[in-house]
């Protein structure tokens, strides 16, 4: 167990190291000189000497590997540097401002999706080929094939323009959360219901379910105690996957609804060439993925005694 964890953490560290190098390299290829941009793209008159002095101050004249090492050292200490566009604002502040918005969005979306998809998937898996089963399958297929940003636009047209129930953009009131939560939940529901159905179908053919049936247990007990407990296992992986991509999964949806979360911060920063923000975010998001992958595997091993970690 301890050995397994060490190996996983070691691999995780390698992955994060590679991602940080890759990100750093990509960001240096970005078009545009940050110093030039900082001074209003040539609108602020400063001399070449002054520009050079600033480059010197920021360490932009150092060789690339030195620049990388300085950046990596600061990242490890939790110092993400200052935004290049919003002058003087630490990147960390910008990220911490945006996290609660994205987290709220995702917690409600995942909660809603689980609440609907799990009972639906179980019911469809138990009553195979029933109308409910077909409806679930069709719904899942449609949900997976529908781009979330298009669904968002259509909901805006229906519920904001025609019915006037919710604001189309922004977060001026809590109502602004409703449509994006529905959009994100729909997408997750489609996947969760499909996984839940498949795993229920599989579990229902297992020997222990047949045994439970054979010894005359009520059908309710068989389903709840024996079947569902086991068919829920694959859901752990799906939830782990959702948490891993918690902050990045909403990039497009946040843009559709103009919501000031991590996704919006990310796309805005890419377009504003604020590469301090972009590179910090990419590394942070990757750390989240690596960490939640390890946690998912550990939880899985804890819940399912058949899996022994070696």
């Amino acid at each position: 167990m301890a050995r397994y964890l060490t190996v996983r953490l070691f691999h995780g560290a390698i992955v994060i190291f590679l991602i940080s190098i890759l990100t750093f390299a990509i960001m240096r290829m970005m078009p545009g000189d940050p110093v030039y941009l900082l001074f209003g793209e040539g609108q602020v008159r400063i001399s070449e000497e002054q520009m050079d002095a600033i480059r010197e101050q920021w360490g932009l004249n150092e060789p690339l590997y030195i620049q990388y090492l300085v950046w990596a050292k600061n990242m490890l200490r939790g110092d993400f540097g200052d935004s290049l566009v919003r002058r003087g604002v630490p990147v960390r502040t910008m990220i911490f401002e945006a996290i609660p918005v994205t987290a709220t969005l995702n917690v409600f979306a995942l909660g809603l999706a689980l609440l609907i998809a799990i009972p639906l998937g179980i019911a469809a898996g138990i009553r195979r080929n029933s109308p409910l089963d077909y409806a679930t399958s069709v719904g899942s297929a449609l949900g997976i094939a529908t781009p979330n940003f298009w669904l968002g636009l259509m909901l805006i047209v229906i519920f904001s323009l025609y019915l006037g129930l919710v604001p189309p953009f922004g977060l001026r009131s809590w109502k602004g959360y409703i449509l994006p939560v529905i959009v994100l939940a729909t997408e997750q529901m489609a996947v969760l219901a499909r996984v839940m159905r498949a795993s229920t179908v599989e579990v229902m053919t297992e020997d222990y379910v047949r045994t439970a049936n054979a010894k005359g247990l009520p059908r309710r007990t068989v389903i709840l105690r024996h079947a569902v407990r086991n068919s829920l296992l694959p859901i752990i992986t799906v939830i782990g996957f959702r948490i891993a991509f918690l902050l990045s999964g909403t990039i497009v949806v946040e843009t559709v609804f103009a919501i000031p979360g991590i996704g919006r911060l990310f796309t805005d920063s890419v377009f504003r060439l604020d590469y301090q923000v972009v590179q910090s975010l990419v590394v942070l998001l990757a750390v989240l993925v690596v960490a939640s992958n390890i946690v998912t595997d550990l939880v899985y091993a804890m819940v399912d005694p058949r899996i022994r970690i070696e």
């Binding site: 390698i14 449609l142 997976i144 529908t146 781009p147 298009w150 636009l153 047209v157 377009f271 972009v278």
Partner: protein, 300 residues
Amino acid sequence: MSATSFEQPQATILAEETKHRSELSQSWRRFRANRMAVVGLIVVALLVLMAIFAPYIAPYDPITDIFRGMRGVGPSPEHPFGFDHLGRDLLSRVIYGSRVALLVGIIATIISLLIGVTVGAISGFFGGWPDSILSRIVDTLMAFPLIALLIVLAAVLGPSLPTTIFVIGITVWARYARVVRADVMSLRSRDFITAATASGVKNSRIIWRHIIPNIMGPVIVLASLGIGSIIILEAALSFLGVGVRPPTPSWGGILADGRAYIIRYPHIAFFPGIMIVITVLAFNFVGDGLRDALDPHDRE
């Protein structure tokens, strides 16, 4: 007792009844039996025809035919999808948009298959340090938030159709590599591979002649299921403005126009989205059908 009463049962009739069928024709029979898969295949074929013959099908030019005074006018019998914010015929733009979607979906899939199968085969066949290095690279790609990586890469390289195809192709192969690696590892211990190795066949020949043909089934299934999500990725990139650039008509790009003018001209966003859903559904149905047809273990 005459000798004729001891006639052997006629073996020839039996042989006729169980006519030999090739693996391929059996798969095709299983595929044909799946109604949704056949519908999907027909829709895909129609979409491909639509993309190839777009200039003959589209009533107007998607870029140069601008109707004055018709900006954002809704659907009518002559223009069933209406006009966009510049007064261009939306039906024509949506028809031409299928070119971008299919081009990106198919070419990016081919690029990612080439990389993924090569990496997976090397990793699974040789094991050891090549496997360790390649597996870490695969892990790294899988841990990258895909859409974030695509946005950054596309922004760095400059948004265009070739960039879109390239960045999607070089980022989505990790899944294929994982599957191929696992399949190759389990194949490597099979007797026919041991026999080939023992009789002195070169590694490269074993990989190409014995291993690759055996893993093509699952790879084709994965690829056909992946095209749909690649088409959605392309649409997302174009929607965000880092994919195919205007005025080239793409479904994601028209959706971006639709978002910008959602309050004034809400009809713009409707049709390209419907086309994406239909296209992705069709590819996914074909993929499901292929999975059931090519993988006999998974049949019910």
